[in-house]
């Protein structure tokens, strides 16, 4: 069983978590062109690498960030979101 470290609840089985994809800055919907918006809505960085991702511990509804190597499936670290860097 794969274990993920929730910043609030500590190590928990991965089946308790929900994955919500890579953290991506949203363009301003009021000013973005159709093309920029489509790029944001649809396109993804699909290639493997160490990515910053949204995860949620569902029993406690805790959202946080995991940095994960998507080729090796190794979680580098997990922490609470503190705004864009």
């Amino acid at each position: 069983m794969k274990i993920l470290n929730c910043p609030l609840n500590g190590p928990r089985p991965v089946s308790e978590f929900f994955y919500w994809g890579e953290v991506r800055p949203m363009p301003n919907p009021a000013t973005a062109s159709d093309e920029v918006w489509a790029d944001y809505v649809f396109n993804r960085n699909g290639a493997p690498g160490v990515k910053k991702e949204w995860w949620c511990h569902t029993p406690s509804n805790t959202w946080f960030i995991a940095e994960r190597d998507t080729e090796k499936d190794v979680v580098v670290r997990t922490y609470f979101y503190e705004g864009e860097d």
Binding site: M1, K2, V14, S15, F18, Y19, G21, D34, E35, A38, D39, F42, N43, R44, N45, G46, A47, P48, K51, E53, T70, E71, K72, D73
Partner: protein, 413 residues
């Protein structure tokens, strides 16, 4: 093993032809380079050679022939999709499947079993009626049937699914079939090889040389090749290749797992899919139960398999077929599925001149192998998208014109 090989062994006077020719060296240039010797890449090579006389072609494969999703899939073939684009496309594929064994002189074990998509809820039944009407409109054999028809076709099923999720009806698709996946890759590969196409296994594409928006060549683990045309048919590795040509796409990779049981007596003729229980099953000619479930829940570029998967799958299987409780798991495995937001593929020309895509095949691309080969051969040979694939172009996302096929996906995702 051929009897003549037993009789004459390696006697030079009676040489045994190889399935594929081995080529010591790569040439310095080809008219077309195909990346990926899965069913799709090899089918495109086959039709390029057979229908367009283009034979100065090489297929580059980093592993071995059919070792990607082609050799990992559960081989369900059907055409009861939801969108007009999808139905026409998959129907053409089902037509092409019919005489492939003859065409190749190789038994693909194409077995027409009939395919039931089970509905356990009113909303699922509603989608099935919709699908049946679209299907019939395009001449595809497809109808909504009651639970008694399911019970008759698969008498061992518990129609109430343990009381949790009673089966209310099903979408029945008589042409639904299974085939021997490896043989499909071998048949296309041998046919291409015999017509002069070079297949190079153990040869990885490491980069693509693009100058002024045009393909000029390919960097491989065995040296540089110049070419003006590259067809990318690498399924789960598509985003890595797209990075080489700097083209953005919505394709994302999640593993899809499957498993087979030990062989048992034949008891299940049709193919059964349950969207609500997220499982599907068929019985192979060898008696194994071939089973799958929904996509893994997060992105991963690897083919590890998990205990979570077999636990979930067997739990739901026992709801439908309680009598299987003593049957053993024989093997489990995974493939990397190249998913798209609308569950339709991404095919055709791209912003890079001479770079063609056959991708976004996710969990549903085995059935499309013949029609992908045909349409991509046309697209590469004529440098224009085949009419059957215009609904699948990469542009559709920029234009907010998706081809919504999710309602026809086999299991929930």
């Amino acid at each position: 093993m051929p009897w003549r090989l037993l009789r004459f062994a390696l006697n030079k006077k009676h040489p045994e032809p190889r399935m594929f020719n081995f080529h010591e060296k790569l040439k310095s240039s080809y008219d077309v380079v195909i990346i990926g010797a899965g069913g799709h890449g090899l089918a495109a090579a086959y039709y390029l050679a057979r229908d367009y006389g283009i034979t100065n072609v090489c297929v580059l494969e980093k592993g071995y022939i059919g070792g990607g999703n082609t050799g990992r899939n559960t081989t369900i073939i059907r055409s009861n999709y939801l969108t007009p684009e999808g139905v026409k496309f998959y129907d053409e594929s089902v037509n092409l499947w019919q005489d492939l064994s003859d065409d190749f002189d190789l038994n693909l074990f194409y077995a027409n079993r009939g395919h039931f998509t089970l509905a356990h809820t009113d909303s699922a039944l509603r989608t099935m009626r919709w699908r049946a009407e679209v299907n019939k409109h395009y001449g595809v054999d497809s109808e909504v049937v009651g639970p008694e028809v399911v019970k008759e076709a698969a008498p061992m099923i518990d129609i109430s699914c343990g009381g949790h999720a009673p089966i209310l009806g099903a979408l029945y698709h008589a042409p639904g079939s299974v085939a021997r996946h490896d043989a499909v890759a071998w048949g296309y590969g041998r046919g291409a090889d015999q017509r002069g196409v070079e297949i190079h296994q153990q040869t990885e594409v490491l980069g693509i040389d693009v100058q002024a928006g045009k393909v000029k060549g390919v960097k491989t683990s065995r040296g540089y090749i110049s070419t003006n045309k590259v067809l990318c048919a690498v399924a789960g590795s598509t985003p890595r290749i797209l990075k080489m040509v700097d083209v953005k796409s919505p394709i994302y990779i999640h593993p899809l797992q499957a498993m087979v049981s030990e062989p048992i007596k034949p008891w299940l003729d049709p193919i059964l899919v349950s969207g609500s229980l997220h499982v599907y099953i068929s019985q192979s000619a060898r008696g194994e139960l071939v089973m799958g479930a929904s996509l893994d829940p997060y992105e991963l570029h690897g083919t590890r398999s998990t205990l979570d998967f077999v636990e979930g799958l067997t739990t739901h299987m026992l709801e439908m077929f309680p009598f299987l409780s003593n049957v053993k798991v024989m093997r489990q495995w995974a493939g990397m599925a190249d998913m798209t937001p609308d569950f339709a593929p991404v095919m055709g020309k791209t912003p890079v001149e001479g770079f063609y895509l056959d991708s976004g095949w996710g969990t549903w691309g085995f059935k499309a192998t013949p029609v992908c080969g045909k349409t991509m051969a046309h697209t590469v040979a004529t440098d224009s998208d085949h009419p059957l694939i215009t609904g699948f172009s990469l542009d559709r996302f920029r234009n907010y014109a998706l081809t919504g096929e999710k309602g026809a996906a086999s299991v929930g995702h």
